[in-house]
């Protein structure tokens, strides 16, 4: 295992210390239980936005804490959802009296822990809404699965919902907006390599020199199918095709196109993928009104990418464009 770490057991805690030191102007970091909270929390009268999940997806979620996005993030151990007591403390830290929205990615562990946390927070008199993101079209949403995973749309939802909360929308409105963003977005991802969980010390799966995994999640889970390595053009077709067909996105739609790197893929490749995606969407009459290209929701050092499309309207564009001031996303501020 080749990583810039000390003891594998300390990776999350030490990385959080570095994050705290680097971004003291934006956030405070609580060590135990672990959460990253915006420096000026709680903001009185503002709906608090909380998200959380396993670590290893950086900059998500800690990198999205700050003005115009998340109020607080709960990092779990690597690829392991955080715990209810942690979420409870984090919720209390950002409760400005207007309630707190929990943005939960659809994984059994996250769901179970967030359910318990919401119960605990409500017992303490804090109004909670929980919205589950489940945008991964690689998974069938059926009785035979735990439902679709929450992946790339989570990042977009956090930005848009964060802007709405910042401008004073109430908890019900913000939760409804979050559900709408989730409903209008779809994602699919792929991997060229596995990643290695530090505590495990070896790759979660093995891929041959000429193989790729299509339909992966963000936890080093194997995907839906293993295929021979293909060109970027073919890969984009394999990812964007199912994404488009699922909603479906139609000619005339305006979208936010999000090409996400899984952590080990350099920008030169991500922009090359974006080039293919832009051509494919243009051929289908779909207009890219906004875009995001970079590694925002990652799987440690995995090489690969995901493609997310989000159908936009004027309201979503306005909220996307609103100022955001976080370590991971920043504009207009």
């Amino acid at each position: 295992m080749k990583k810039l770490i000390n003891d594998p057991a300390d990776v999350v805690a030490e990385s959080l210390r570095g994050f705290a030191a680097a971004h003291a102007d934006l956030v405070r970091v609580n060590a135990d239980p672990a959460y990253v909270v915006r420096a000026d929390a709680p903001v009185k009268g503002k709906v608090g936005i909380l998200s959380g999940g396993g670590s290893g997806h950086e900059p998500m979620h800690g990198g999205f804490v700050g003005r115009g996005m998340l109020d607080v993030a709960c990092p779990g151990e690597v690829f392991t959802s955080p715990t209810p007591d942690q979420m409870l403390e984090a919720t209390k830290a950002v409760d400005g009296g207007a309630g707190v929205l929990h943005i939960v990615k659809n994984y059994t562990g996250d769901i179970l822990n967030f359910e318990m946390a919401a119960d605990l927070a409500r017992e303490e008199g804090i109004e909670i809404e929980a919205v589950i993101t489940n945008d991964d079209v690689a998974v069938q949403d059926s009785l035979y699965t735990a439902g679709r995973r929450g992946v790339g749309v989570t990042v977009l939802a956090e930005k848009i919902v964060g802007a709405a909360a910042e401008e004073g929308q109430d908890l019900a409105a913000v939760a409804e907006l979050c559900r709408r963003v989730n409903a209008e977005g779809r994602t699919m991802g792929m991997a060229l390599t596995s990643c290695t969980v530090p505590a495990a010390g070896k790759p979660t799966f093995e891929l041959g020199e000429q193989e790729m995994e299509i339909g992966i999640g963000i936890h080093g889970e194997p995907g839906r199918e293993r295929l021979p390595l293909a060109s970027a053009k073919e890969i984009v077709e394999r990812l964007a095709g199912p994404v488009i067909d699922d909603l479906p996105f139609a000619s005339g739609d305006r979208v936010l196109a999000f090409v996400n790197g899984m952590g080990g893929t350099p920008q030169i490749e991500l922009y090359l993928v974006y080039n293919e995606l832009a051509q494919l969407l243009e051929a289908r009459g779909i207009t890219i009104a906004r875009n995001l290209v970079g590694s925002y929701i990652t799987s440690l050092e995995m090489a690969g990418c995901s493609i997310t499309l989000l159908r936009l309207d004027d309201e979503l564009i306005r909220l996307w464009d609103a100022p955001v001031l976080t370590a991971g996303l920043r504009w207009g501020a």
């Binding site: 151990e77 392991t80 955080p82 209810p84 059994t108 562990g109 822990n113 999640g217």
Partner: protein, 213 residues
């Protein structure tokens, strides 16, 4: 412990200690199982959780089984995370609630386990054959109750429970997962033993070992 006599807190602690040692020993094996159909952390999670449990319990051992199991359940919930944290946490919390303050008989132990398993099922909404820990726990709870009902000793009942749990865990191999992370794999989840069912079988085997005589 002779049959019918009260199960002591110390015995329950010894059971947990045995389970913690097994989790430390089996950490890599469980994680390997989870790598095949999940995200490769189940052994790491369980080991971290049981270490935290034993630290808490050793620092100040609660006076009775309900209090002990509450400590265990809360420690797991706050230290494990993932799916296993709330599920194992619930298992022990419900076990403890069912125990009541008045000491525990073998029949009571069996009822506690059944309550714990019911709690897991309520929380995770898993059915039998969904390829989860329920596939080890439910047969184990059923087997212990049945054995005691047939007049078996507590030791024998637990041994039968452990056998049933291990068989249940092995029987997850051909199943296609319908709950948890493994379900994302669809058909590709078949052919691998479920990590949670495996750790659950270890839990019951630890009990059988503890109360073997």
């Amino acid at each position: 412990m002779s049959d019918g006599a009260a199960i002591t807190v110390d015995e329950v602690v010894a059971w947990l200690r045995d389970f913690a040692a097994v989790m430390a020993r089996e950490k890599d094996a469980l994680t390997a199982l989870d790598s095949a159909i999940g995200d490769g952390d189940h052994g790491i999670n369980m080991d971290r959780g049981m270490r935290a449990v034993m630290e808490k319990v050793d620092a100040a051992t609660p006076a009775d089984v309900p209090a002990l199991m509450k400590t265990v359940g809360m420690a797991l919930i706050s230290k494990v995370g993932g799916a296993a944290g709330p599920l194992y946490g619930t298992l022990f919390l419900q076990f403890g609630s069912a125990a009541g303050p008045d000491g525990l008989t073998p029949d009571g132990w069996a009822a506690c386990l059944a309550a714990g398993v019911a709690g897991v099922r309520a929380r995770g909404k898993a059915e039998l054959e969904d390829k989860t820990m329920v596939d080890a726990l439910q047969p184990a709870a059923d087997a212990v109750s049945a054995a005691l009902g047939e007049g078996a000793s507590f030791a024998d009942a637990l041994a039968r429970g452990a056998d049933a749990a291990e068989e249940g865990a092995r029987a997850t191999i051909p199943l296609v997962a319908r709950k948890g992370r493994a379900s994302y794999l669809g058909e590709r989840s078949a052919g691998h033993q479920d990590p949670g069912a495996t750790s659950s079988a270890h839990l019951v085997r630890s009990a059988a070992r503890m109360w073997a005589v």
